[in-house]
Amino acid sequence: MITIDGLTKFYGDHKVLNNLSVTIGNQEIVGVIGSSGGGKSTLLRCLGGLEKIDQGRFTIQGKLGMVFQHFNLFPHMTVLENLTYAPIHVLKLSKEEAVARAEKLLDQVGLLPKAQAYPKALSGGQKQRVAIVRALAMESDIILFDEPTSALDPEMTQEVLKVIRDFAKTGITMLIATHEMRFLKDVSSRVLLLDQGTLIEDRPTQAFFANPETQKGQQFLQTFNGADQ
């Protein structure tokens, strides 16, 4: 569970998150949407402990993992090492156990044959799939996705979305910042619409897509419906 209370964040004089309060329950799949610069990434980065917050507070109950737009795999380690390093050094698992778990996860995303490959030998979609299972290998039950497909071409986007979709069914809490509206419509139960750092809609997915409450919400959806056709 994530509880956010009055979260405010400035970059210099610019308020990027404005008094944001929201609670995310266990096993919820929540889409975080809004135009670029609206604060989606900043919100996730604050929750991930990568940005200092200026006002308010948040609590996270559970183990947090994060998936980045640019994957951030460790390039000097093999795929398997990327997956086992933190479980061995942070969770103190034995090497055998960490490897067994990593291999199982790799198998689930169809990348077991790439276990010994280095990240540079992988496609963008494959890298992101590895990054997702790297987060899961840490026994995370909450995963923050920071625009996981924005750096990928359409074909790879689909393979990554499929993996997220599969794991969404396993009871993991997800907060997904993305522009993939069709995907969210399908996978998420709830959407948060951020506009210039302010949470302007917090609605069940179906209700939001059927009828946004705010004018900004309508405009935002129109832009995407236009792009979809």
Binding site: G48, G49, L50, L64, G65, M66, F68, H70, N72, L73, F74, P75, H76, Y85, A86, H89, V90, R134, A135, M138
Partner: protein, 214 residues
Amino acid sequence: MSFDWLPNAAFIIQGTVTTLEYTLLSVSGGVILGLLLAFAKLSHHKSIQWAAQFYTSIFRGTPLLLQLFIVYFGIPNLTGYQIGVFPAGVIAFSLNSAAYISETMRAGIQSIDKGQFEAAHVLGISKFLTMRDIILPQAVRIILPALVNEMISMLKETALISTLGELDIMKRANEVAAQTYHYFEPLIIAAISYYLLVLLLTYILKCIEKRQLA
């Protein structure tokens, strides 16, 4: 008096061992101290940052020969404890080398993508392990060529130790010159000795760069 090539050349070339000892030990010392200084430069504490910058500025801003004399003559004068030529040389050269190496290392560490630190942070990896196992192994690839260049400079600069009487390549050439009254030949033999050592290091550097491109 004619110049007796073989024994004189052999005498001078024996100095390569001494020269290499100074070079390798000084650069090793420089790497260790340089790494600490690099961390200091990346510290969040302004005073630590400033102290490390000041260190670099002093050691870059004064002649190495003067630094060597301060360590060998100045500090014993102050403390009353006489230090040997070899430790004095290695200490002075290490301190000087660290000033340059720390800059290289700082730049190398800073060149690593911020996302690497962030991924490690979110995975719960400690700062120490992040540095040791995630950041430094990547930074070394960037730093290594500059380190070999530093070693090449250091190799030539160790000739300063001859001023304190250490029998390195330079001093040996000078001694042969003083005994035979031939200056050209011993100095050329010394020059060739240094040059071959530098060529060797350059070759190693090329191999490293080639391996990195692969």
